[in-house]
Amino acid sequence: MCGIVGLYLKNPALQPTLGAMFEPMLVEMTDRGPDSAGFAVYRNPVGADETKFTLASDDPAADWPDLDSDMSGGLGGTVRMDVHSDHAVVITDAAPDAAVAWLMEYRPGVRIVGSGRSIEIFKQTGLPKDVARQFNLAGAAGSHAIGHTRMATESAVTTAGSHPFATGLDVCLVHNGSLSNHNRLRRKLERDGIRFQTENDTEVAAGFMTWKLRQGATLEEALEAGFQELDGFFTFCVGTADGFAVTRDPIACKHAVMAETDDWVAMATEYRAIAHLPGADTADIWEPEPHRIYTWGRVQ
């Protein structure tokens, strides 16, 4: 099962209402994924010399206090921090690699769930409505968002195993389906320096994309390579700094529907997640074709 949803606002005037429009999309997919939920929101881009990290902790009472001042003291420069429950958004002008190394050494319990200039990723076990409330999704302003509701089939129900999975700066992935060659592919990617936090199949797809993007592939090239290397069923929605992409495996047995108006583009596993959006009644609605990459916004 699992449900995936994506919303890209073509009309900038709607940006203050992104979360209010997007939360019901996520919650409507609860039947398909009541185990855990997550979403990526693209908002408040930081300066060109800054990096925004989203961090998650199983022990926020120990990890969050003084993280900003400790990090600033250790790395120099400025560090800004916003705590969102057991997640925190940290913005630093330190070199990204140095920031990651510092976190691994001084906050070893903290997981980096996303990084880039505008992406923020929040995910947690529990019902989608509870996860949305925990991170105040309804109040989020931004340009676009993608989300996932999970019914786990092949690995544990944990926060780390929840979607979205980051695949690079400002890029993340949600997945409906299952991959059958993920163990072999994980071992191959680990030899090439990709780190994994879980036994999850989707994390391997994300790792594969990270690997391709690091080699200089465009997003479309990375997805095209995925058609060759990923064995299994998938509908992917990929969030990027400027939009999102949707693609399905050549068999295309995992559901997907897309809808577009002058104001927005939406994708979902089922149309009912889109039905409440303003103008959905008269939107263009179609099922994305297999083995084809659809993109909106200025995707690489």
């Binding site: 559901h255 009912r272 997640a273 609605i285």
Partner: protein
């Protein structure tokens, strides 16, 4: 004759379907509109009366499934498996349809004004399907009987492992599935195609279509294929 209105938002899918199922045989209340379908699943399923039902908006999965005798119009998009296992009656989708439209259906007429996605008419068993646009891959997979008319193009592996259903395609066929071949269009086929296009209200010239069907090479075991088992 009065027009009955059912608000799905108010009474839910079960309420809508129960209201339509409870109508006594021979009722005069035959005209119904279902408002606020909101993409919910299994709307107007299992009807068995000569009703005229309009779904006023986009429907979710399995809309009009198992239909018998009713005439159902979906004003918009239909999700997966529209009119699946229909027995008789008519279902029309004014927009596009997702995959497996008309799956396993035994009878009746399914008309899709827009495109149908993959696996349209999978395992069809007697239904007639007319698609104004194109159909996706694996359409008419294992189709047993009935007719599939495609006014646009057909995706890969059309009619794979087909039995005796008859396929008519006006545009390009990306590829034919196993044991599906182009066949001669004889006068009786043209007559049937004309009848189906007229029934669907499609203003398309039957002479533009090609006919496809089973080569009947998979029906019996062939000794030359013994190595494949």
């Amino acid at each position: 004759m009065t027009m009955g209105e059912l608000d799905l938002k108010e009474i839910g899918v079960r309420g809508v379907n129960a209201a339509l199922h409870e109508l006594p045989d021979g009722t005069n209340e035959r005209q119904w509109v279902i408002n606020n379908p909101m993409g919910q699943h299994a709307i107007a399923c299992g009807l068995d009366a000569p009703l005229n039902v309009t779904v006023n908006g986009h429907a979710g999965f399995y809309c009009a499934g198992m239909n018998q005798r009713a005439e159902i119009t979906i004003q918009g998009h239909a999700g997966v498996g529209v009119a699946e296992n229909m027995m008789s009656g008519t279902v029309r989708v004014t927009g596009n349809a997702s995959q497996s439209a008309g799956a396993t259906a035994h009878g009746g007429l399914l008309v899709i004004d827009g495109d149908a996605s993959s696996r349209c008419g999978i395992s069809m068993k007697g239904i007639d399907i007319v698609v104004g646009g194109s159909v996706g891959h694996m359409s008419a997979f294992m189709a047993q009987s009935g007719h599939l008319v495609v006014c646009g193009d057909a995706g890969d592996a059309l009619g794979d492992s087909i039995y005796e259903a008859m396929l008519f395609v006006r545009g390009e066929v990306a590829s034919l599935g196993a044991d599906c071949i182009e066949k001669e269009m004889r006068p009786e086929h043209l007559a049937k195609l004309s009848e189906l296009l007229a029934a669907a209200g499609m203003d398309t010239d039957p002479a533009d279509f090609k006919r496809y069907g089973s080569a009947r090479q998979l029906y019996n075991f062939h000794i030359d294929n013994v190595d494949a088992y």
